[in-house]
Amino acid sequence: MKSIHWGSFKDESDTRKETDASEIVLPMSKMEKFQQIKLPYTITREKRVPMKNSLVTQTVEVMKQTEMIQTLIDTYSTKSGCNYILNPCQLMPTVHFPSSNVVDLTRAEKITRPLWYVSPGSSAFTRGDSKSFVKLSKPAVQQALRKAACGLLCMEGFSEINESALIMIVDGLDQFLRLQVEAMRSVVTEENEEVGTVPDVLTVEKMYLAIGRTTVCDLHNYYKKLMRKNRTEVGEFKDIYQEYDRLLQENQLSVQNMQKLGDSHEDDYMSFLDPQSHSSNGTTIDGSTIKIINFINGESVNGFKDILEGELLESNSTQDSTDQMNNQQFYQQEITSNGFVQTGQGNVSQ
């Protein structure tokens, strides 16, 4: 929409054109230099605000990874007290986590020790040297608050949030920040002191005491709580990863064993044809054992019938022949009583 200026000439003799918000206005001296240099890139007004908090990011990532591994364990193992693989023939999937989510806390020992045990080094930050920050617009601030709130909510234990609740908590955070700075302004006003535009730590302490009725040093305890939460989550992740690793090894071992059972060696193959032959490990495979193996493998159609006919009962070569006969007759009498016709000794048919 073209803006109409109340002071503009009606005959449009005003040759100056209105500058857009995205254009850069340079003084003439710099304009000449800028044109001479001819930079390979164009200068834009795009600003980037880093929102990096390694502690919160790592904690949330570790929580998600723990949940993923727990889901895998629940899917592929039983839900009893001692987990074991449900289906030994099915390979469990392996997961690989990126090693990039590492907390870059260079001086983490400051969190564990009391404040007065750690001697701080001298830097521009510790000296309080002035620093300029990027000027943000209201939408950018709202977006940053939204992202910060979501990260903190994930860390506390929420997995989802309603859109209206997200709007509400961002508004609440915005209100709290305004409350803080307004409380600082009221503290300065009540003291009737001419304070510059840069607040000091005493003003902040009085402000925080007025709002929260506690000292600012409680924030140190809050950060210790965050570190403790991070370590708890990392410890829980390590425990569950060990359990997952154990199940994975067990699963791979069982799959390998199943594959070995399925493999047929040449000696064993030949022994199937000869009932009295020896297997590869030196033991004798007799006819009954062959029938059992064939029955399990489903190779023999009459395997079940053979078991019923009692032929497997005469498999042991050390057994007395008379005992074998007696056993066979007893078994045949039972079959006869069930409706089978005895055609001969040892032969039964329906």
Binding site: R107, T126, K131, K135, A144, I161, A165, L219, H220
Partner: protein, 139 residues
């Protein structure tokens, strides 16, 4: 022979009060210096925006970071309270089905996913002095 064998000791109470003040101030200054390693979730630029809105300059990065961490603590406290409200409301709801064992209850509470809703957020914010009234057209 004197009471304190010639050892002169000043008034004990005044010394203690002075030591307390110095310690409190010393603790605060030490804490300020350690803020360099405490990276808050809320960026410093956002806090500087709010300081500018009240007429302050966000020149001292320590003050800016202090206010950022205070705001972060506020969100954490509200979220924690809302989670407690959510858990209380979920546990008090009648459970359907057969009676479950203690292990199953613990496991189900661990696996349960919590959703932040207006019902839980509203009382949590009210406890921190932020009155919220839910609009009729909000779900």
């Amino acid at each position: 022979m004197g009471d304190n064998f010639g050892i002169h000791r000043g008034p004990v109470k005044k010394q203690a009060e002075g030591a307390e003040d110095r310690t409190q101030g010393q603790i605060l200054s030490d804490f300020l210096m350690q803020l360099e390693d405490y990276t808050p979730t809320i960026p410093d630029a956002v806090t500087s925006y709010y300081l500018n809105s009240a007429g302050f300059e966000g020149a001292d990065p320590r003050i800016v970071r202090l206010i950022s961490i205070a705001a972060q603590k506020f969100v954490s406290d509200v979220a924690n309270d809302a989670l407690q409200h959510c858990k209380t409301r979920t546990n008090s709801a009648p459970s359907s089905g057969h009676g479950s064992s203690k292990n199953q209850n613990q496991k189900s509470s661990k696996d349960r996913k919590y959703t932040l809703t207006m019902e839980d957020l509203q009382p949590a914010l009210n406890d921190y002095g932020i009155t919220v009234r839910k609009a009729h057209y909000f779900v």
